[in-house]
């Protein structure tokens, strides 16, 4: 292994030689990736390229067959309390929001603070109200998730993840299930987070977001990271044929 320049920001998430199979499908092939503190990494690529799987391995919602993943220097533990403790440090926002359907919006943001962080209820509620206000859904606090629009639900989901003060936030296609007019409101919240220095891994098809908010773009295809570059360089001058082909298809319209 080569010593990377330690003068820069510290490595928060490190994947080394990660491999994963779904049956015969080799969905992640020799993935090496280092994400520094405060970095916003956008992962793009055709569907089935393994980008969502990559995202989900970082908090071990998907296990890996080989390789090593560390968060802030700590290797991901196996299933159990240790893993739960580490997951609390890694926020996740899902494509289908996954708000707790039987809990109010406020309770969605309060629950893990109380149960996992052992914050007292009053403090947890105050924090939840502040976060809901920040993502612009303060007025919906007492409603149930199903009463909210998709965009509102996703913003609540972001607030819920933020309530744990995570070191890194993972976004697994956060806008793919949204109506076009609601995409902007979610992306705006994400841009705000990026500007504040939150470390983020974002799997998305929103090229506009990749251009404007990412520090680095990863292009994945067939389980590999094919290309890695600044958004500017990637979008104006992709090196691989695979990336050129992909971009020509999605940027045409």
């Amino acid at each position: 292994m080569t010593e990377t320049a330690d003068s820069g920001p510290k490595a928060l998430v490190e994947l080394t030689g990660v491999n994963k199979h779904f049956g015969a499908l080799h969905v992640l092939q020799d993935i090496n990736l280092t994400i520094s503190q405060g970095e916003v990494v956008v992962v793009i690529g055709p569907s089935g390229s393994g980008k969502s799987t990559l995202c989900r391995t970082i908090n071990r919602l998907e296990t890996i067959d080989a390789g090593r993943i560390t968060i802030d220097g700590e290797p991901l533990p196996a299933e159990g309390r240790e893993l739960a403790r580490l997951r609390a440090e890694v926020g996740m926002v899902f494509q289908s929001f996954n708000l707790f359907a039987h809990k109010t919006v406020l309770e969605n943001v309060v629950l893990a603070q109380v149960k996992v962080r052992r914050t007292d209820r009053a403090a947890a509620e105050a924090k939840a109200h502040a976060l809901l206000d920040r993502v612009g859904v303060a007025a919906q606090a007492d409603k149930f998730p199903a009463q909210l629009s998709g965009g509102q639900q996703q913003r609540v989901a972001i607030a819920r993840a933020l309530a744990m003060d995570p070191k890194v936030l993972l976004f697994d296609e956060p806008t793919s299930a949204l109506d076009p007019e609601m995409i902007t409101e979610v992306l705006d919240v994400m841009r705000g987070l990026a500007a504040e220095g939150m470390t983020m891994v974002v799997v998305t098809h929103e090229m506009g977001f990749a251009r404007s908010a990412a520090n680095r773009v990863l292009f994945m295809a067939d389980g590999r990271i094919v290309e890695e570059n600044t958004p500017e360089a990637f979008f104006t001058n992709p090196r691989s044929d695979r990336a050129k082909d992909f971009l020509s298809k999605i940027l045409r319209h």
Partner: protein
């Protein structure tokens, strides 16, 4: 017939005994069955196997055999229980295997994303199950669960053959005294019907509680 010769007292005691037996078995079955369901979906292989074997054994064994095992088998290994406690044990363990499978299928109706969200927030397996999954599984479970708990009081009639003076055994006692069998069966059947109807009604009320939309 029911209101002569102090028969009503006997009948009433049998009825109450059946209610007691059913209620105690139901509590045991519900707690044990839910625990077994948690085992069946747990990440620990030993627990999963334990629950699978439990369901396999208790769901597939005739209840009468279980009563035999409790009544004649346990004393052999120096476990001495009263007839009532033995009956609760047999009925409870038997019914728990059905409850386990109903709860497990209820758990499977909850979208997997709910548990993933809970886990991604750092909740443990137990917290995820208790806080997120089971409350949402509850509604899907009510229908089949009511069938189980309507069957339970009727299954409890077997206890009458094992020295528990419950409702069905009252019929035997009275018929030995020479009362007309059809009249006896009418009253006994009516009493069971009352219990089943009460259980059914209770579940229907639960089902009509304000729903949370998914």
């Amino acid at each position: 017939m029911l209101f002569e010769d102090g028969n009503f007292g006997l009948f009433r005691d049998g009825f109450l005994r059946t209610v007691e037996l059913s209620a105690a078995s139901a509590v045991l079955a519900l707690l044990l069955g839910t625990l077994l369901a948690a085992f069946r979906v747990s990440p620990v292989p030993v627990l999963r196997s334990f629950a699978t074997v439990w369901v396999g054994v208790f769901r597939n064994t005739p209840l009468t055999l279980l009563f035999f095992a409790v009544t004649f088998g346990l004393p052999r290994v120096d476990v001495h229980l009263s007839a009532f406690v033995g009956a609760v044990l047999a009925l409870g363990c038997y019914t728990a295997s059905f409850v386990c499978e109903v709860v497990r299928s209820g758990i499977n109706t909850v979208p997997v994303g709910q548990a993933e969200a809970a886990r991604s927030l750092g909740m443990t397996f137990g917290q995820t199950l208790v806080q997120i999954v089971l409350p949402q599984a509850g509604r899907a479970v009510l229908g089949p669960m009511s069938s189980i708990f309507i069957a339970l009081p009727r299954n409890s009639a077997i206890a009458g053959a094992f020295n528990v003076a419950e409702l069905y055994s009252v019929q035997q006692t009275l018929s030995e005294r020479g009362y007309a069998i059809f009249v006896l069966f009418f009253w006994v059947a009516l009493a069971y019907l009352c219990i089943s109807a009460a259980v059914g009604l209770a579940f229907r009320r639960l089902e009509h509680r304000p729903a949370v939309a998914r």
